[in-house]
């Protein structure tokens, strides 16, 4: 090819590269904001237990084994949608799921658990978004994977279904459970 002909292809090459980049960008979800907390210790908290107002739960509940910390609320439709999957994860797969009841009221939250079942080993009650800000929560549902040392290893924004569980969350749990 003559040099001038190959030079004429340069703008076309730039155009194709730019189109590919923008097309890739179209597939990204702007609602998924990466969390700066991943690979850092879970923020400290001292919150009432949802079921027992007299009991205070701290980050110690996360010690010892890999847990899922699931941010949920009774007003959140996607939380209801993922609830069945969480029941399955907790009861059939034996994963410790800690509930993080967020910006909710106690009666409505308990009502939802009566209606749909309770997958949680313990439930933190945060009606005023006190610990939620420290955890960088900006919506429900959100789910954190926390390893046995209390370090956040992953954050999932949005509901968990079977595909998300198998491809995104289970591999991370397996990696940190074996350590």
């Amino acid at each position: 090819m003559r040099p001038s002909a190959s030079r004429a292809l340069i703008p076309l090459g730039i155009f194709i590269a730019l189109a590919a980049l923008l097309f890739y960008g179209l597939g990204l979800d702007p609602r998924t904001v990466p969390s700066p907390l991943v690979d850092k210790p879970a923020p400290a908290f001292a919150l009432q237990s949802l079921k027992d107002p007299g009991q205070t739960l701290t980050q110690e509940v996360l010690r010892g084994k890999v847990s899922l910390v699931n941010v949920w609320a009774s007003w959140c439709p996607s939380c209801r949608q993922e609830h069945g999957e969480l029941m399955q994860i907790a009861h059939e797969q034996g994963i410790q799921v800690i509930g993080f009841n967020w910006k909710d009221t106690r009666p409505e939250a308990l009502q939802m658990l009566r209606q749909y079942g309770d997958p949680y080993a313990a439930i933190l009650f945060d009606p005023d978004n006190k610990a939620g800000i420290d955890w960088g929560v900006y919506g429900a549902p959100e789910t954190f994977v926390v390893d046995g040392e209390g370090i956040i290893r992953h954050k999932r924004i949005g509901p968990i279904d079977r595909a998300v569980w198998e491809s995104e969350i289970l591999p991370i749990i397996k990696r940190y459970r074996s350590q």
């Binding site: 702007p30 609602r31 904001v33 990466p34 969390s35 700066p36 907390l37 910006k103 005023d128 978004n129 939620g132 800000i133 420290d134 955890w135 960088g136 929560v137 900006y138 919506g139």
Partner: protein
């Protein structure tokens, strides 16, 4: 004509009422935040205007009615009241929500391309333009036609003339 006038009056009334309703709603949300020092209030106002609400991403903390934005407004207010600086508030929020809460991203290696890319592109384009112009200047285009070209030109002009006659 009269009907159009009436319509216009009604319409402007509706618009005015809407504007009033919304302006009071906006004022209401910020009224609860009081500072003894007006400079502090301006600082607060400026800061929440530059922080992004993560729920409705095209709104600032100042403008958003989302619950999370309200909580964060209160948190920023509390920190400023306690005498913490603007930098401390920004550090607090970015440690939890990431740089995404800032409408103006910080300058660091991962954002170099964002900050300096446009200048590089303009510089490269300008350099190419100058080079092309200089080359054009140093080798001017041939102004004179060769004998063959002149003959061909005359032929074409003659043809055109013929067509016009028809």
């Amino acid at each position: 004509m009269r009907l159009t006038n009436l319509m216009q009056t009604v319409l402007s009334g509706v618009l005015l009422a809407t504007a009033l309703v919304f302006s009071t709603a906006q004022a209401y949300t910020l009224e609860e935040f009081t500072f003894d020092d007006p400079a502090k209030f301006n600082e607060f106002h400026d800061l929440i205007g530059k922080l992004r609400c993560l729920v409705c991403q095209n709104e600032s903390l100042a403008g958003s009615q989302a619950g999370v934005a309200e909580d964060l407004r209160k948190e920023v207010y509390r920190m400023l009241r306690e005498g913490q600086s603007r930098e401390q508030v920004i550090a607090f929020l970015t440690a939890r929500y990431g740089d995404f809460v800032l409408y103006e991203p910080p300058i660091k290696p991962s954002t170099y391309i964002l900050w300096f890319g446009p200048f590089l592109l303009v510089g490269f384009g300008g350099w190419r333009l100058l080079r092309t112009l200089q080359r054009k200047k140093s080798e001017p285009e041939q102004a004179e036609l060769s004998a063959d070209e002149r003959a061909r030109l005359n032929q074409l002009l003659a043809q055109k003339h013929d067509h016009q006659d028809i």
